[in-house]
């Protein structure tokens, strides 16, 4: 692919710049203050957490909350959630890729209707807590409750509509001439998928994969209901166990939540640029 050209940026006037500074400062404050506060809370001793005036410095930092979090099985939940999320992302990408290709390149009866069905399943994938019991019973019937594959399957299905949308969008931007040229060269459809589309759709894989990872990582309801065994328990129920029957315990709660955003920040640090370029192609078409 060609290197991106320098973006076109009209000059801003001084007044406009100033008008920008305030909202941006407000945004930084509103977005980062709770995060900073949460991280600070995670290293504060109990007695300092609710001190008035609020304490930014001047307390004795403690690792006690982190110790508590790890004693509660955080390490296992963290690794298994990484595994769930990666599995779910791979499954969603693998299934979405040919589907998106067919929706973009082929014509077949009910194509529009079926694509609308994919889009319409977005609300189903938001997961309603109210359907928790019927859902639980359904997955018991399938024999999937409390197995290692139940959550990856559910998460992959939750993310699938979004992934198909993003991938199809990207393929719209890949010229059809490439397919035709490959066919002339004697490539099979699978060959085209493998050797033409796969490399070119790489940004879409990165982008959709990242968004799907965040979705799977932060899912709570299914993770708490479909799993009983401690070693299979994903990370969100573990975090919420610190908002327990005996009250919310800000120390371990903020410590667990702080640790839980690290993988997401890493993914963004590694794939952040991909997210933007990956979605790019798909979103242009008006």
């Amino acid at each position: 692919m060609a290197a991106p050209s320098a973006p076109f940026r009209p000059k801003l006037g001084a007044a406009a710049s100033l008008a920008l500074v305030l909202p941006v400062a407000a945004l930084v404050l509103v977005n980062l203050l709770p995060l900073v506060w949460g991280v600070l809370t995670s290293i504060k001793p109990e007695s300092a957490i609710f001190a008035i005036p609020p304490q930014f410095f001047g307390f004795e930092p403690t690792a006690a909350h982190y110790e508590r979090v790890f004693a509660s099985g955080f390490g296992q939940s963290f690794s298994i959630s990484i595994a769930y999320s990666i599995f779910a992302v791979m499954l969603a990408l693998t299934l979405a890729f040919p589907a998106a290709y067919a929706f973009d390149r082929f014509d077949f009866p009910f194509r529009q209707g079926l694509f609308l069905l994919v889009v319409a399943s977005i609300p189903l994938s938001l997961g309603a807590a109210a359907l928790l019991i019927p859902n639980y019973v359904y997955f018991v019937h399938l024999g999937l409750v409390n197995t290692p594959i139940v959550l990856p399957l559910i998460y992959a299905a939750h993310q699938l509509p979004m992934v198909i949308w993003v991938m199809k969008g990207t393929m719209e931007g890949i010229p059809r001439e490439l397919d035709e040229a490959a066919i002339v060269d004697g490539a099979s459809r699978f060959g085209i998928l493998r050797h033409v589309m796969l490399p070119l759709a790489r940004p879409a894989f990165g982008a959709a994969g990242t968004l799907a990872f965040v979705g799977a990582w932060n899912e709570f309801v299914a993770g708490s209901v479909m799993i009983d065994a401690p070693w299979l328990r994903p990370i969100q129920p573990l975090i919420y166990s610190f908002i327990g029957f005996f009250g919310r315990e800000w120390g371990p709660l903020s410590a667990a939540a702080t640790l839980a955003i690290v993988p997401i920040l890493l993914i963004f640090a590694l794939l952040g640029r991909l997210v933007v370029s990956g979605l790019t192609k798909g979103s242009v078409k008006g």
Binding site: P7, L35, P54, I122, A130, L131, W165, I261, S283
Partner: protein, 286 residues
């Protein structure tokens, strides 16, 4: 032109198999469940539409729908307006600085919903939080944002917007990156103002990502119970009792599983109609 191909179904079948297994079949099962008489968490016999009829007994139903409309409508419009402005601004920044701003913007979105809402509430709304402490130190003593009905709804909207701006910015930014710079350059040379370029060129080209953002924001605002439950708990009085809270109460306060399932299914149906309406109204083609 798309290639007509009957074997297309083989490409989309795996994706639909997973969607069917995990998303569609449980809804059918939920449909059966909602027609049952539910006693002590288990179906005990066919009940016809009694669970649905009972929903209509709720004298507050119309008010709940109106509040849901206000909350969702305001949240979606404000989120899109702010995230569009942010995305346009970030798009003009140097890649490095833009990347930093992007990370700042997504912070609320990547933190688990409940923890994020709790932190926001503690830091900005609670009277033992930072904002209240700052207000007091400059002589504002009546810092009681959650005690008036209108104030509580406004704050619920604020939290909903804050939580989801990151997601919207990422998708819109991706759309913007895909618009070739020469369009705007050409228009600029023709003497078009910045606003005209945005209105006539940028906005129409953003249709697909805007539609995705609008759909996802609408649905997640309607269906997410965590944000209102944590921020206001539905109060004061009934000021912020939205549909999601109503479903949650049926399921987990009154343990009326039949009614909760029925209401959740009706919400799904409404959600799907909304998606179809969005797609139709925007004249978007798959």
């Amino acid at each position: 032109m798309r290639t007509a191909k009957a074997s297309s179904y083989a490409y989309i079948a795996p994706a639909f198999a997973l969607l069917g297994l995990v998303l569609f079949a449980p809804v059918l099962y939920g449909g059966w469940f909602s027609l049952q008489n539910i006693r002590y968490g288990a179906p005990t016999g066919y009940a016809g539409f009694r669970n649905f009829e009972r929903l209509l007994d709720d004298p507050d139903l119309a008010d709940i729908l109106l509040r849901t409309f206000v909350h969702t409508g305001a949240s979606v419009v404000i989120t899109i307006a702010i995230s569009l402005a942010l995305a346009v601004w970030i798009n003009r920044l140097s890649p490095r600085f833009g990347y930093v701003v992007q990370i700042v913007v997504i912070v609320p979105w990547i933190i688990s919903t409940v923890v994020a809402a709790l932190l926001f509430r503690w830091v900005f709304l609670n009277d033992i939080g930072l904002a209240a402490w700052l207000a007091r130190s400059i002589g504002i003593n009546n810092f009681q944002p959650l005690t008036s009905p209108a104030g509580a709804m406004a704050l619920l909207v604020a939290v909903s917007v804050w939580k989801r701006i990151g997601y919207a910015v990422i998708i819109l930014l991706a759309g913007l990156k895909g618009i070739p710079d020469d369009y705007a350059e050409a228009a600029c040379i023709d003497g078009a103002s910045g606003w005209q370029i945005f209105r006539r060129i940028t906005l129409p080209l953003l249709k697909t990502p805007l539609l995705l953002v609008a759909i996802v924001l609408t649905l997640s605002n309607i269906n997410t119970v965590e944000t209102p439950l944590v921020t206001t708990g539905g109060g004061p009085g009934d000021a912020t009792r939205v549909l999601a809270i109503s479903v949650y109460e049926r399921a987990f306060v009154n343990f009326d599983l039949g009614g909760a399932t029925a209401l959740a299914l009706l919400m799904f149906a409404g959600n799907i109609l909304l998606v179809v309406a969005y797609v139709r109204l925007s004249k978007w083609k798959a």
